[in-house]
């Protein structure tokens, strides 16, 4: 039993030489995964699931419209609304919004503007078709219904 009672002189320090590495690792991890959001989304967003998804390659050619029930029903009601950038817009405001977005692009890229519609799955088709009709009016014909992959979380 004497073996166990023996006092050891070993140091109890944990080596901290690798601590910076770990911190850097965490830093990199968060740097990579964090998506910087430019706008605060004020509508309910539960994107429908689908299987036949395609990726959009050029991010700068994409503009987003968010459609859904407002998060603050007391202020904005319970009917689905359209959000562009930080503000709610009416259906008629879409033309102006698309023209503004086209204005940000170079001349040869103007036709390639893709509208990404992020529509909440509880929305009715009426408002969605209003948007697509307005898009046709301003000849912004590329459209993407945002969806997430079915079966995979």
């Amino acid at each position: 039993m004497a073996k166990f009672k023996k006092k050891s002189n070993t140091s109890q320090d944990i080596p901290t030489a690798a601590l910076p590495d770990i911190i850097f690792m965490l830093l990199f991890f968060f740097m990579v995964t964090t998506v910087l959001r430019e706008v605060t989304i004020n509508v309910k967003q539960s994107i429908p699931k689908a299987t036949q998804l395609r990726k959009l390659e050029q991010k700068k050619l994409v503009s987003y419209l968010y459609v859904g029930k407002p998060n603050d029903p007391e202020k904005f009601g319970t009917e689905p609304r359209i959000q562009a950038n930080d503000a709610f817009i009416e259906v008629d405001g879409i033309i102006q919004f698309i023209e503004e977005e086209k204005g940000k692009l170079a001349e040869h890229e103007k036709d390639q503007l893709t509208m990404s519609l992020k529509v909440d799955e509880e929305t009715k088709m009426g408002i969605v078709s209003d948007i697509t009709e307005k898009m046709k009016d301003v000849n912004a014909r590329k459209l993407m219904y945002a969806a997430s992959q079915k079966g995979v979380e």
Partner: protein
């Protein structure tokens, strides 16, 4: 024994950095950065108000009609459909029917198809003549739920992507992932779509439902 006890035992920490990098790489690989994904679509151009609408003399058999009402009930070719997933096979059979090929091109197209796609061709005289003529017409109502609309659109596009994939011997998933900037993949994309356009006509919704 006493001599060894006085020594300060250390864990060799030189490989700690390696472990850290390993973890870093692991997370880098497994984390999916939120990318923009969805169902892509190109809208038809706005009809010119100065020109009269073109006369459409399409045979009914060449149109595959899908109607959805405001209570999300689906009608396909005048019959009610309850299982949306059946739509994919129905559309594939409709497009590849080759009931009465209208031109030699269409016949050549049929001959170029792989056996798996030829098997879908029923040559039914009451269905589409050939893929060039076949149009899938999809009409929803303003009161249709968006998720039902997406589910149907997903099946329709899926049917075409599966046909395209089969033509070049890849899966529908691989076909959608083809990068058109690479010449060899762009070539595959072209071959797959040759003669079979994705003719999905989405009509403006009717207005019986509210909003």
């Amino acid at each position: 024994m006493a001599r060894s006890g006085r020594k300060i035992p250390e864990v060799n920490s030189s490989s700690m950095a390696d472990i850290a990098f390993l973890l870093l790489v692991f997370f880098l690989v497994t984390t999916t950065i939120a990318t923009d994904k969805g169902l892509t679509l190109t809208l038809p151009p706005k009809p010119d108000p100065n020109e009269p609408p073109p006369d459409i003399t399409k045979n009914q058999r060449n149109i595959f009609k899908i109607l959805v009402n405001s209570s999300d009930r689906i009608m396909v070719e005048d019959e009610e459909l309850t299982d949306v997933t059946k739509l994919r096979t129905m559309v594939k059979e409709f497009v590849l029917n080759f009931g009465k090929p209208t031109s030699e091109e269409a016949q050549a197209l049929y001959n170029s198809l792989p056996a798996s796609l030829k098997a879908l061709s029923k040559k039914d005289p009451t269905s589409s003549d050939d893929p060039k003529e076949a149009v899938v017409s999809f009409k929803a109502d303003r009161g249709t739920s968006y998720d039902v609309y997406i589910a149907i659109l997903d099946e329709l596009q899926g049917a075409y992507y599966e046909i395209y994939g089969d033509r070049v011997g890849i899966s529908a998933d691989d076909f959608r992932a083809l990068d058109r900037k690479k010449p060899d993949e762009a070539e595959k994309y072209k071959i797959a779509r040759e003669g079979i356009g994705m003719q999905i006509s989405i009509a403006e919704p009717s207005k019986t439902g509210d909003n």
